[in-house]
Structures are given as structure tokens and as C-alpha cells.
Symmetry: C2
Subunit: 132 residues, 2 copies
Amino acid sequence: MALDEFVENLITGSKSFASVATLMKDGSPQVSVMWVDSDGENILVNTAEGRVKTDNFRKDKRVALAIVDSENPYRQAMIRGKVVEETHDGAKEHTDKLAKKYLGLDEYPYHQPGDVRVIFKIKPDSVYKIEV
Amino acid sequence: MALDEFVENLITGSKSFASVATLMKDGSPQVSVMWVDSDGENILVNTAEGRVKTDNFRKDKRVALAIVDSENPYRQAMIRGKVVEETHDGAKEHTDKLAKKYLGLDEYPYHQPGDVRVIFKIKPDSVYKIEV
């Protein structure tokens, strides 16, 4: 199913950041501010092995995101959904795509030797839109 | 205990928004983008009776916030903490204070008849700082 059009536009139309909430082992919430992408169906975020949110994404697939238009903080989507897929394939190259969008650079500038990147795909269950 | 200085500066130094994660009844996360204030010790958010996040704040006091500098999205605090207090006292006037900060208005322009505002005070347990 195609991603909600408002969400798609938020993601592709500006350098919108996503605040992504995951669940810690004890069930408490955690929030990270992340770059965000779309494959037309799901919301894509890119992180690395060994990080807290990577573990959280795997342990409990229930997540929530707030995506805010970088040009208008009162244009937002608040999303609840689930991680439906993860992949290492193309995940390093995907950071370059994100660096192009967010930093205007051809290559992601923060790669460290040994970093293993991973893409998580999030399917929205509900989308709450705000536009003022 | 005084609020972490970096967090205090983020809150008072710019029109920073907070993405606030709460827990739904089923334990899944929810994120709302909120105006944010400080009383010098705790992080203050202001919402209204009858909203999902109001119920969530009461049901499970564990919350997480990402506060992002409105002038530099790579200056952030990611906070985990707990709701330690709530009050209706002064909560309506507090929206005017927030409207001044965020909208430059003397009065909060979205009051609806019957709205009952409530301030929730959040005490950080951990603060993770990012500044690029």
C-alpha cells in the first residue's frame, strides 16, 4: 500500500527530521532524532549495529514517529506503526543518499571503520496530521 | 536539583520544540511535538484534559523527550525521565507564556470554551547531548 501522501510529501519535500520513539527493554520509551526516507510504501530510517535504538527496533517492533516540516514546525505528522523489515543490503549507500538530502554532500561524512549500517522499514498503522 | 544546563539553554535559548514520547495503554509508544518550558528544576509541558497524551502521562509516568534547537537541528538533547507532578494551577496563564515565546503573542490564540489546561512536570533521569 502506498505511503500516506501527506507523509510522503513531508519526507521528500523538505529536510524534515523524524523523532522516533522506541521501547527500552523495561518498556520505557526512548526518542531519537533521525534522518528519514521513504520507499513509497514504508518509512525508512538508517542506523548502525550496536546502538540502543537498533536493539530496541528488534526487540519490540512497535514504534512512533513525529515528522516535522523543516520549513514549518506547525506542519507535522504523528505516526504510530511497526518495524516490518530490516536490511543491511545497500544500507551504507543509503547513508550517502541521506547525506545528499540533508547535508548536500555526495558521501556520508561520519562513517567509522567497522560501522555496520542497517535500514529499518516502518509501516504506519495510524497517521495524525497537523497543519497550521 | 537544577535542570541540566545544556537542557535549560535549549529550552530558554530558542524556540525549541520537544518531541515527547508517552506510552499508550497497550505499552506502545506515542509521540507528540510540544512547546516546552522549564521551572529551573523540571521540564514543563502544557496540554489539555481529554487528550491522549494527558491520559498517557497519568497512566505510566515514564516518558522520553527529544528537544531540538530551533536554530540548529544538530544541537539536541535526548532525555528519559518521569512525570513527577501535574497541576491545573496557573496552567491557562502558562499557555500565554508559551504563546509569547513561540508565537510572539500576549495571549494563547487557540483557547476553546471548556478547555481545561494542565501542566506536567518532567524530571530527567538521563540526558544524552548532541552538538555538531
